[in-house]
Symmetry: C3
Subunit: 168 residues, 3 copies
Amino acid sequence: MGLIPDDWLLEPHRSAGFLKHEVIAHVEKASHIHHTEHLFFKVPSRYALLNITDRVEEVLKRSGVTDGLAFVSAMHITAGIYVNDAESGLLHDIARWIENLAPFGEDYQHHQTGEDNGDAHLKSFLTNHSLTAPITQGRLDFGTWQQIFYAEFDGKREKRVLVKTLGV
Amino acid sequence: MGLIPDDWLLEPHRSAGFLKHEVIAHVEKASHIHHTEHLFFKVPSRYALLNITDRVEEVLKRSGVTDGLAFVSAMHITAGIYVNDAESGLLHDIARWIENLAPFGEDYQHHQTGEDNGDAHLKSFLTNHSLTAPITQGRLDFGTWQQIFYAEFDGKREKRVLVKTLGV
Amino acid sequence: MGLIPDDWLLEPHRSAGFLKHEVIAHVEKASHIHHTEHLFFKVPSRYALLNITDRVEEVLKRSGVTDGLAFVSAMHITAGIYVNDAESGLLHDIARWIENLAPFGEDYQHHQTGEDNGDAHLKSFLTNHSLTAPITQGRLDFGTWQQIFYAEFDGKREKRVLVKTLGV
């Protein structure tokens, strides 16, 4: 491998750029809510990057959780869930990058079972198959550009996404 | 980079393939269980992909948690935890893919410390080092093919996996 | 793709190297703490790998949580959070590896918006943008070498990291 470019700051010990902290919320309560839903998708194409932020926020509202965590997971191993920006050029870049690193149509041993979706299993390692998101004061505690995406790598069939909210 | 293949649906805004949601469970309770175990492994080979789903389910039973989350984490940075299918051809594909993207025996700077496992540290980025899994109605709330794997990238020594279940 | 090296143990079913389990803690309590902070960083370079383990432990102390989970997340989609070793040679290896797989300066479609940080969005897939860490007996329940890093891929501006601790 070559050298890294100049502009990398590598700090094994204390973090250089730290400015300050702010306490956003501190809640102590006895009663706890655990709310679980399955969301059903049938994507018309083989591959898709779908912005499901609104779907997750709908679950959040139905659950009544105001502080806690939302856990979002593909219930399949040929799909993934990730957080990133929704800019449409970037979606193309992400699709190309995933395809380049885990290409369709390689000679995967998995295909000896009759499947042709070996690439989809590997693609899910790049996006991760699930994520956890913070809930604070009744909302997803996200930065401006953070959006939740469902990454479909073997579509055209019914699939499920699990959303579980835990909190007060 | 080249173009992406035709069959990618990229949706920056609302998710196209959404069908419906189903509420699976809604629990409100005061009493809460936090249960933590370390699982000990000594893998006879340097590299391994081990299906530990049964081990995690055993912890789940011992903990008594019926709704919540299971957190599973390698306690080492030369190992990972991931969810995928257990089909044996696919395990070969995953091993080859990880090895290709983060190969053993490169000239890693980490090796100047006397170690030879630089590849193992990078491989753990591809699998992720931990995962969260949902528990609903006393079971791992998984799709048919989802299995939890321990990925060992520097074996032949005793290693630990942490499992923590939180819930009601 | 070529063959995998000899020394991979692939176990679709039961895990071969399992030795034993140890219950570390079992807590049942009614009262629950949810504590949320934002940490602010302004990194002087474009790229950085910053060890923020101490920062997260400071939040942990302020929160009073003794058993539960810490959720740590970049609030930007051009940064990531990961767990790995802090050895300085390894930090170079990680930086080179991330740069090789998601290089700066490619012809990304995202750049048609005027941005030049397409690589940063892809790099965040390799580190993951957030992590969950276990808290047991008042401390991060980590192995010897596990450290939490903030990976900055588009620095020189103020950015936030969210830390939420949940537990008893």
